[in-house]
């Protein structure tokens, strides 16, 4: 499944970059109360609870960050599995200045799902993942506003 979209943040790009590069921050933005631990310079591991229609369960997995061009773009690779299936995804984030105090983030990605989450949840996965992304981006924007508010 392909994921594509964009979001305009109310804050400057360097601060947004710092937030994006801090998975602890990302973790607080995502629904499903994920936990994240750093395991290498660009590698992390963690758990997240996901609910797709009738299917719900915990996923454990790894996140790695590559192709970093600070403070503009990077590639995020996620691999997770749980009792209800597995998820693999690769996404690219690209940020550009959009006037004063505004940053445009474009994201594209490819997600592969398998197991029960695919065979029973597929119909809803698209809208669930879009909802999760929207919610995460909104939360990230709030964090950004709070952090950049004083400037």
């Amino acid at each position: 499944m392909k994921i594509e979209g964009q979001y305009t943040f109310d804050g400057p790009r360097p601060i947004l970059w710092e937030l994006v590069r801090d998975p602890q921050v990302l973790a607080t933005c995502l629904p499903g109360s994920p936990s994240v631990r750093k395991t290498g310079e660009h590698e992390y591991e963690g758990e997240i609870a996901i609910r797709v229609g009738p299917i719900s369960g915990a996923f454990a997995g790894q996140l790695s960050v590559t192709n970093e061009v600070p403070p503009a773009s990077c590639t995020l690779t996620v691999e997770g599995k749980g009792k209800v299936g597995f998820v693999k995804g690769v996404g690219n984030i690209d940020m550009t200045d959009q006037g004063p105090g505004k940053t445009l983030m474009k994201y594209t990605g490819e997600v592969q799902i398998g197991g029960k989450v695919a065979s029973v949840g597929q119909r809803l996965f698209d809208s669930v993942s879009r909802g999760m992304i929207d919610q995460a981006l909104g939360k990230l924007n709030e964090t950004l506003q709070a952090r950049s508010g004083g400037r």
Binding site: K81, F86, I113, G114, K116, S119, Q122, R123
Partner: protein, 781 residues
Amino acid sequence: MTKTLIGQRVLRNEDARLLTGLAQFVDDVEIPGLLHAAFLRSDHAHARLVGLDVSAARQRPGVIAVFTAEDMGADWAPGPPLVSPPPTAKDVTFHSRRQVPLVKDKIRHAGEALAVVIAENRYIAEDAVEDILVDLEPLEAVVDLEDAMRPDSPRVHDDLESNLAAHLFQKKGDYDAARQQADLVLRRRILIDRGAAAAMENRGIVADWDEKSQHLTIWDTTQAPIPIRNGTAARLGLSENQVRVIAPFIGGGFGPKMMMFYPEELVIPWAAKKLKRPIKWIEDRRENFYATTQERGQVHDVEIALSKDGRILGLKDIFLHDTGAYDPYGLTIPLNTQCHALGGYDIQNFTTEVSVVFTNKTLVTPVRGAGRPQGIFVIERMLDAAARELGLDPVEIRRRNLIPPTAFPYEHGIIDQAFAPLILDSGNYWPVMEKALEMIGYATFVRDEQPRLRKAGKHVGIGIAPFVESTGVGPYEGARVTVEASGKVFVATGVGTQGQGHFTTFAQVVAEQLGVEVSDVRLVSGDTAEFHWGTGTFASRGAVVAGNAIHAAASIVRRKVLELASKHLETPEDELELEGGRVRVADIPNRSISLAELANLANPLRGAVEPGTEPGLEATAYFGPRYGATAFGVHAMIIEIDPETMMIEIKRYVTVEDCGTVLNPLILEGQIHGGVSLGIGNAYYEKLHYDENGQLLNASFADYLIPSATEMPRIEVGHMETRSPLNELGTKGVGEAGTIPVPALFAQAIENALADRQLEILESPLSPNRLYELTSRKEAG
């Protein structure tokens, strides 16, 4: 014969039990100490299995055992081939790869079993499955048939050079020469995708090993209990007499429940014997979607050559056939497709070539129709295209090509699914078509109603599709018929029953011979302790093969009855008649003796049975046809399409079947109704959606649509009878007749209803959504 029961609408003997919940199904089996099994299945379609850690699962309270392939040790072996391998011939390539009980090294489709947990109940077993840690290395999946055949494709079986499972070339006449003489040559690419059988009852098995009697009893939702008994005995090193397989009432077979030797059928009896405890496994619906076999995926490149008056000069069909991860069922399905691509038509020049392809998808084995709907879809689509090109009426082009009644037996000159010459035994095709035309009012509809309704803005269309169905194949079936001391009759036969009405039709055959009430004939089918010679219920062969074996056994018992009664009544046999459970002297009704008395005379407590005779009024007989009988039929329907939603309303649905002698029209109609329902699903609702990674994306009834009562039309069934010369009763099979032509019929009727859009349909299954896409694409140019 005093009373004709064959052909009567006799109500079903079995319905009282079924309707009051007293019929036994596999899940009804309860045994003290029964354990329950759950399987760990792969989420990935293609992966190398690195390791399984089952230690936590084994420690869970209530878990009795956890088995992996490794734990099976020397008992681990792939399942047996399910049909004879193809003969070694220069035009046949066949690589046999059979399913394994539990994956040892490589996962080849999502849902393949990796381990089994045996626990005190299913809840614990399911929880313990989740305790198992799986270490695997995902591989790129082989999904698309054409991609699978590219040299750089990943391979489903590493030891083969490619994903080619089999290749078979057949020809009759000279297609290329015919093509040279043709006025019209049409080429089309036709795509057919998979559907599920979706029986109401999922699979299930209970195995009970009794250590003291050294005997294994298995209740299995199988259509073929005898092969399962023999194969299980061989695998477990037991005598066949130490194994009893019972196929009780089954909520629908439709092919995937044949003698499959599914992983569960290999593992559960093995585990029961090892643990010396009874074990039950009942499949859940999601397992059914990816662990029960499926069918229909093919890609055809077809060419048809015709004269300008619409005569078919030749047909060439080169196609790919999806067999999934393994091919235990050999070439049965693609051979059926090859044979049925000729339809009921007189085609002198035919070239057909199939490449069977391994993919990382669930195994493909016959599903009601078994390759036949694809063949019929191909030829009927080509004829519709040709009729349009030549400006002929779709009925007329068919009339000009149907095999004439004088041409039977019609030898086609290619081999059929049994690797024997394809011969159509008998038939009278055009009158069947005429009857269907008359029943649906074809002429009036096309001349008056359709123009009137079109003027009123309605998208109404008509379709009419003939088809042949090869049925009643060998090797043989058998039966034992006994008149018991009560005067009632007991019949045992090997074929199992999954709703076909055997308890009634077979009882009618016996009652007709012995002059008893149909309800006084008790039948046991599908229990190897009662009868253990035969193969099973599939390929529309029950009524033909088992029916004629039962007829033969009942005829012998009738002779024994008459012989004994003749002595007792001191009257020649030809002056006796059997009626109402008694043998009477024809002209003197009060000189008679009951079957009960005769049964007791035949089994005396004192005196001596004469040398060279047998006690009892009992006989066992077998029947094996020289080759399969071929049935014929025509389906016709009138539809209206809502052009906004592409929902189809079926206004009229007519079928006319010629399946030889009709044993019971009521039951025949039931078979047709069920078949049409599956056909409508195949044609317009059901499709298994696999993504490019081999994940099945609609493995639940929330997403996989099967027709319900609201989609089912009222079906008008007509009959014609051309007796088969191949058997005493003159029967031909009808089990798959309802399903076979439906996708072809839908395509034709939809094209007709949307004539203003000049749409050509070259794929199946369709759906409202897909039809909308096709018409939009057409409009977009």
